[in-house]
């Protein structure tokens, strides 16, 4: 290339770079945003190395009341992977349905004796009922593995009371068959966690697999000769809170995906609505509106209502599309879905007002707000299950409105919450709306002085 061609080329490139460097919001999005988000994700998924392990919330119902079931409860409670709470069946099931626990395990009456009989071939295996939430399928796989080990250890210790063998090894040995049967499920669970980057839960699964391997390798040296034909002394019956079997679970997962995305994109819409208001305020239309004999409250309310109506239409269209294409249906009342949609639309529209109030320029407000929405949806559990977050983060997610919005939509679409059950969520969203609206109103620059 000749110098005469090179100079204009360099000039054009330099001009673009100069323009880019003078755009501080562009710089913010290009450099600071990825650093912040990546650092945030790294902290969430244990990149800092100091996060405590996350215990999976499990409700255990002991209807058996036997020594064996008490032992199962004790062993499960001592497993660091699980946060076990013993409850009545009704409360345990409700906890799963309300999203407070990943699953409930119900040990029915007579389970202990029946399991002993089953392992010695003297009776059919008893049934263990597992009530689970399809949105926590990863946790289900892990808990199933842990429970299998716990039960096998308990039964093995009972079966060989005088043995010097390590009950854990016995349990692991017996677990081999369980593992081979449920390998697909467990593998799926671990793989999911790999994708999500959960170091702690994954490492426990690997350790457990290694123990099983050790048991296999020490087969010849083992003081107890185990029959390879031994089978699990119980069977599991899985019951999803959504009903409808695996199809119901698929529907619930689809509904969760649609709920998450509808929350995200309605918030994006609200941001754009706020930017529109910001542009009006910085232009002549605002002057004309302010000279008209209408109150500030009317002006702001009109913006909030128009944004809320648009938000509602988006919610309706997106969720209806999901319902038609992915087959989920409303298990509860349509009124609860409507109220949830209205509460969220109100929250989103007042969020838009806040964006308009605190934003100085359209470009800057858009950059910062979109970043904020992405972080809020992430923390609300829209992209990845919130149980993967460190405990300290899980404790603060209730102060994030998207947490309530996504959980609320899940509750009315997948779990069939009644009006009474969804009322707290509606109240919280109304509280956020009020707070955003108040802040937006107070922070609004009404005069043209800016």
């Amino acid at each position: 290339m000749k110098t005469s061609q090179l100079r204009p080329l360099v000039a054009l490139v330099m001009k673009d770079l100069q323009v880019f460097m003078t755009d501080r919001y562009g710089l913010l999005l290009s450099y600071v945003a990825p650093i912040c988000l990546a650092s945030f994700m790294a902290v969430i998924f244990g990149g800092s190395g100091s996060s405590p392990q996350n215990a999976i919330q499990v409700k255990l119902v002991d209807e058996d009341g036997s020594v064996n079931s008490a032992e199962i409860l004790a062993r499960a409670s001592s497993d660091p992977s699980l946060a076990v709470e013993s409850l009545e069946r009704k409360a345990a099931t409700a906890a799963v349905r309300e999203g407070k626990a990943a699953l409930a395990v119900i040990i029915p009456a007579g389970f202990g004796n029946a399991a002993d009989n089953a392992i010695s071939g003297e009776g059919p295996p008893p049934e263990l009922l597992v009530v689970h939430d399809p949105n926590h399928s990863s946790e289900l796989s892990l808990v199933r593995g842990v429970l299998s080990q716990v039960i096998m250890e308990t039964v093995a210790a009972d079966l060989f009371p005088g043995s010097q063998a390590d009950p854990a090894l016995l349990g692991d040995e017996l677990l081999l068959e369980t593992r081979s049967k449920s390998q697909d499920d467990v593998g799926t669970g671990v793989n999911r966690l790999n994708l999500a980057g959960s170091g702690s839960a994954q490492s426990r699964a690997v350790e457990r697999d290694a123990a099983v391997q050790r048991a296999t390798a020490s087969d010849a040296a083992s003081p107890v000769q185990l029959r390879p034909t031994v089978s699990l002394p119980y069977v599991c019956r899985y019951e999803s809170i959504t009903g409808g079997g695996s199809t119901g679970e698929r529907h619930a997962l689809a509904a969760h995906a649609f709920a998450s995305m509808v929350v995200q994109f309605v918030l994006f819409l609200a941001v754009e609505w706020g930017i529109g208001l910001l542009n009006e305020r910085n232009g002549g239309i605002w002057k004309r509106l302010r000279t008209a004999p209408i109150s500030r409250f009317t002006l702001l309310l009109s913006k909030a209502i128009s944004c809320a109506i648009t938000s509602l239409s988006i919610i309706a269209v997106v969720l209806t599309f999901g319902s038609f294409v992915f087959g989920y249906t409303l298990p509860g009342s349509g009124l609860t879905v409507l109220l949830m949609a209205v509460a969220f639309a109100a929250m989103a529209s007042t969020f838009g007002l806040l964006v308009a109030a605190v934003g100085r320029s359209a470009q800057g407000a858009r950059s910062v707000s979109i970043l904020a929405v992405l972080v809020m949806v992430l923390l609300g559990g829209g992209w990845i299950p919130s149980f993967l977050f460190p405990q300290w983060l899980q404790k603060i997610t209730p102060v994030i409105p998207t947490h309530w919005a996504i959980d609320g939509f899940d509750a009315v679409i997948s779990r069939g919450f009644t009006l009474q059950e969804i009322a707290p969520t509606l109240m919280v969203l109304a509280g956020f709306s009020l707070a955003f609206g108040l802040l937006g109103s107070l922070a609004s620059r009404w005069s043209a002085e800016s």
């Binding site: 000279t291 109150s295 043209a448």
Partner: protein
């Protein structure tokens, strides 16, 4: 009709408006003239209630506007400097929207829209989206919106910025018609010829202060007693050894200055022009062109503020 009383406004360290006062009578057209940054728009914003003054007040028929919903706000129509239109809507839809905000009922609105569109000559394009309008058409619609509620006072903040001559003329004809109907106009501009054509009185604002307030003749007298008798001379060899001090001593010459390469004399009478031209000839200079007449607003502004309006 409108009284602006000792308005004062600061933005941090900047004292934008300092003790500005003037009055606008019914049917009177008052021009606020000043360079960019003089404080015109801030004054207009305070008159319109968009900015709260630090001190002073604005009275409509002797009463101040109180609160957002004060019906006295309807006495005023604002034509902002920016195009205050919703581009996605048609001209008619814009008028309907802003008219409704002013509290017009359907019948009033229909009548007002028809009149306003006719005044700005946009009736045939009323149903087209504003985004398809030319710059001049948008400016005309911008004016029409302010007329819908039939305000008694029309405040126009540089309404002809970037307008083609045809649209400018349409706007001026419309404003002259409104003036003839008894409307009061407050017109900010830095176009001298617009102020000269439209305004009965001119308030010159510079650096936040009212420098002068009066009709053209009063301003001319304030600027220079003889500026009504001005002689402008072009020489074959400009600025070639001319002694301005000598020329100032000639009989009837009040002032003489070089302005853009021309000699500008303010004389006691234009009857003395021939004597001045003879003097120049006697001094050995060749006069290529001369013109006599009244001083224009630009020179009055220059005289009063010490700087040219267009160069600010």
């Amino acid at each position: 009709m409108l009284e602006v009383v000792h308005l004062d406004k600061r933005f941090g360290e900047i004292h934008a408006v300092r003790d500005v006062s003037f009055r606008v009578a019914k049917g009177e057209s008052v021009g606020l003239l000043g360079p960019n940054g003089a404080g015109k728009s801030t004054t207009v914003s305070m008159i319109s209630g968009l900015i709260r003054p630090d001190d002073g007040q604005v009275l409509f028929k002797g009463q101040a506007v109180r609160g957002d919903r004060d019906p006295r706000k309807r006495k005023l129509g604002l034509v902002p400097q920016e195009l205050a239109l919703v581009e996605e809507l048609s001209g008619q839809e814009n008028l309907s929207f802003f008219g409704t905000l002013q509290g017009l009922d359907r019948r009033e609105l229909q009548r007002s829209m028809t009149e306003a569109l006719a005044l700005v000559e946009l009736s045939d394009r009323a149903k087209d989206p504003v985004k398809t309008y030319s710059g001049g058409m948008k400016r005309r619609l911008n004016l029409a919106v302010a007329l819908l509620h039939d305000p008694e006072i029309l405040v126009l903040d540089e309404p002809t910025v970037g307008v083609d001559p045809q649209s400018r003329n349409t706007i001026f004809e419309g404003l002259e018609l409104l003036k003839a109907r008894g409307k009061s106009l407050v017109y900010t501009t830095h176009y001298m010829e617009e102020a000269e054509r439209l305004c009965d009185r001119i308030v010159i604002i510079d650096q936040g202060c009212v420098v002068a307030d009066g009709n053209f003749d009063q301003l001319a007298r304030l600027a220079s007693h003889s500026s009504e008798h001005r002689l402008t001379v072009e020489l074959a060899e400009p600025e070639a050894g001319i002694s301005l001090d000598f020329l100032k001593t000639r009989p009837g010459v009040v002032t003489v200055n070089w302005v853009h390469g021309k000699l500008v004399f303010d004389l006691e009478s234009l009857d003395l022009a021939a004597a001045v031209l003879s003097t120049l000839g006697a001094m050995g200079h060749t006069v290529t062109h001369f013109a006599g007449g009244r001083a224009d607003l630009a020179s009055i502004f220059l005289s009063l503020t010490g700087r040219s309006l267009r160069n600010t």
